[in-house]
């Protein structure tokens, strides 16, 4: 990216001044190196988002920002319904409530070394992964309705997990305002046999070890010590969310002109929050968030069963669950006034700081866990929402490394089988139905996740707590 038109606000904060149709400035949080490596399209997309009606304060991009569709991946924007603000199906995307959850295992690296291969095989056998895989759960119409309203709470009531899990999920496992009546029959049908499935692409279940602790106090609050074995699950709302995105993007694209909304890019399809279409989308999108939370809860249950088969008696308590493709109604202070805003996070993680009322008691003093996914051979990170982050970007931080090259370029550079062998030689066991899928997700196809979390830390969005090294990865 050509940074000459950006105004430097600090070492890790850059302003794209409001110009043309922009209603507010753009703000990109990144080091100079990360910024220069970003595609020009990121600035263009940040500016496009800044032109949408009712946007508040700024159009933000996180340090892992890259060229998305409509919003940049890593984009954050808040809208005020009282100021003709909009909700954007494009600003949430197809993979509604895609997110990460991390479980503790109570095991140490030495406990699992001798059983790693068996653990990988058992997990791969029990976790439905990849195209064509189906879950064992079939929901009838009544159960589907209950799942869409109840999220992870429904899953726990159906014996997939414990009540203690719910305290460690955003919104305690169920977002309010879900309206199953706004979910199409197509979306329901697409979800029919996809409950409890991982999906494909960059979705995974990974067994990890805490390789370094940066913030002992926060790590203590999160129950982490160097050498601890963890499990992280990255996936979303599966076919139901994809279809809701498809349905409402189409409807919003067609309805925008009549609503007086000039879209700089049709992928930014949106509707006034107060309109019937905006309300229907919110009802359906929230149902998809609940579907994602239920899905990750079922996968958690399957992971627990797999671990119990290899390590009888082991327990896997939930550390936390974050979603990074959402629009959530939140209260934020803006210029000294409390406002109810609709915060879009597209490839960005909610990162509430210490003392926020939403946090579980044991995390209140250190801030919300922010779970940053890696890419097989690279590290993942656990961060903590920083004090003051709500004033910086409505309580948001990065979500992952972000791709550095296209999938095709990755398959041109790497062979999946060779990659699996190379990683195995480094002690990282990969199980996947597709070698090409592994090559497309090659560790070096992603940016340096270390630089991304460093920038999030220095920008005051979320502070580093611990680095996690991969041991076993089930790729979809």
């Amino acid at each position: 990216m050509n940074i000459s038109r950006l105004k430097r606000r600090g070492n890790y904060e850059w302003e794209l001044p409001a110009a043309g149709r922009m209603r507010v400035p753009g703000v990109i949080f990144a080091s100079r190196e990360l910024l220069e490596a970003m595609d020009e399209k990121v600035a263009e997309q940040v500016a496009n988002v800044a032109s949408l009606p009712g946007i508040v304060t700024a159009s933000y991009a996180m340090p892992d920002a890259h060229w998305g569709y409509g919003f940049p991946i890593g984009g954050v924007a808040a809208f005020d319904a009282e100021d003709d603000g909009v909700v954007s199906a494009g600003g949430v995307g197809f993979d509604i409530s895609c997110g990460v959850r991390t479980l503790r295992t109570g095991l140490k690296l030495a406990d699992i070394e001798a059983h790693k291969a068996r653990l990988a095989d058992v997990l791969f056998a029990r976790i439905p992964a990849g195209i064509g895989s189906t879950g064992s759960i079939r929901l009838d119409a009544r159960s589907m309705e209950a799942m869409l309203k109840g999220g992870a709470r429904w899953a726990v009531q159906a014996s997939y997990g414990t009540v203690a899990d719910l305290e460690h999920i955003e919104e305690q496992g169920r977002v309010a305002g879900a309206d199953p009546a706004c979910v199409s029959e197509l979306a329901r049908k697409r979800q029919r046999d996809e409950m409890g499935t991982l999906g494909s692409g960059n979705h995974y279940l990974e067994v990890q070890v805490v390789s370094e602790v940066f913030d002992p106090a926060a790590a203590h609050a999160y129950g982490l010590v160097a050498g601890d074995v963890l499990v992280s699950i990255h996936c979303g709302s599966r076919g139901l969310g994809h279809q809701i995105g498809t349905d409402y993007l189409r409807e919003m694209v067609v309805a925008a002109p009549a609503a007086g909304i000039a879209l700089p890019d049709r992928e930014l399809a949106c509707a006034p929050i107060k309109s019937a279409l905006g309300q229907r989308y919110l009802g359906a999108m929230r149902a998809a968030i609940n579907c994602a939370l239920a899905n990750r809860q079922i996968l958690t249950h399957l992971a627990r069963e797999a671990f119990a088969e290899v390590f009888p008696g082991v327990r896997l308590p939930l550390l936390y669950d974050v979603s990074h493709n959402t629009c959530k109604e939140e209260a934020h202070m803006v210029a000294g006034h409390k406002r109810h805003l609709f915060v879009h996070r597209k490839g960005a993680t909610r990162a509430f700081g210490p003392g926020h009322a939403e946090l579980p008691g044991e995390y209140a003093a250190v801030g919300q866990p922010v779970l940053i996914g890696g890419s097989m051979g690279t590290a993942s990170y656990i961060l903590a929402g920083a004090a003051g982050t709500e004033e910086r970007a409505f309580g948001s931080a990065c979500h992952g490394a972000g791709r550095a090259m296209s999938r095709h370029e990755a398959t041109r550079r790497w062979n999946g089988r060779t990659l699996i062998d190379d990683l195995a030689a480094r002690g990282i066991l990969i199980r996947s139905p597709s070698w090409r899928g592994v090559a497309e997700e090659a560790p070096l196809a992603y940016k340096d996740v270390g630089a991304v979390v460093e920038a999030s830390d220095h920008a005051g969005l979320a502070g580093k707590v611990a680095r996690l090294a991969p041991l076993v990865c089930i790729k979809g």
């Binding site: 494909s200 992928e267 095709h408």
Partner: protein, 168 residues
């Protein structure tokens, strides 16, 4: 190339004879071309051909290539797809999303397409088979066709082009 289409370098490319099972489906025996183009997070797909229908069929093949090698998919079963839209760009997105839905709910992959388009109304037959992980090695699921880099139009050389970015 339409004015709003960036001159991307093609990545994977291919061509095959159009299905042409109906006289109005596409120019008989026309060479239907497809390719994917780079997008940082996802994948761009593009079809081109002598007719709009050829270009749509090529775009569908390009989408299949995001998942697996289209030549690995046998044409054992057919599925009929119908859609209509206010313009051809929206029709392309609707066509691809209809295929994504059929793939997801039937657990099928498609490799051959017989497309007919009249006044923004599309009727098509897609040939394919059930997903066989051991033979198809599907790499990534397509979640939806986006409006990003969406373009449908006739190029200076008379060839039709249809493209967009799909989310994987």
């Amino acid at each position: 190339m339409p004015e709003n289409a960036r001159p991307f370098l093609p990545l994977a490319t291919g061509n095959r004879r159009c299905a042409a099972h109906r006289p109005d489906a596409c120019a008989s025996g026309a060479l239907m071309q497809w390719q994917t183009f780079a997008h940082e997070a996802d994948v761009g797909i593009r079809g081109s051909g002598a007719t709009l229908a050829d270009a749509f069929a090529g775009a569908a093949t390009a989408m299949t290539s995001v998942i697996c090698d289209p030549d690995r998919i046998a044409d054992r079963e057919t599925v009929t797809v119908k859609c209509a839209a206010p313009d051809d760009e929206l029709l392309l997105v609707d066509w691809l999303n209809a295929l994504i839905y059929e793939m997801a709910t039937r657990h099928m992959l498609f490799s051959r397409f017989d497309v007919g388009i009249t006044n923004h109304h599309l009727t098509a037959t897609a040939w394919g088979e059930l997903v066989d992980i051991s033979r198809h090695h599907p790499a990534a699921e397509v979640k939806g066709a986006s409006y990003c880099e969406l373009a449908v139009g006739r190029q200076a050389d008379g060839q039709w082009l249809a493209q967009c970015v799909v989310d994987v």
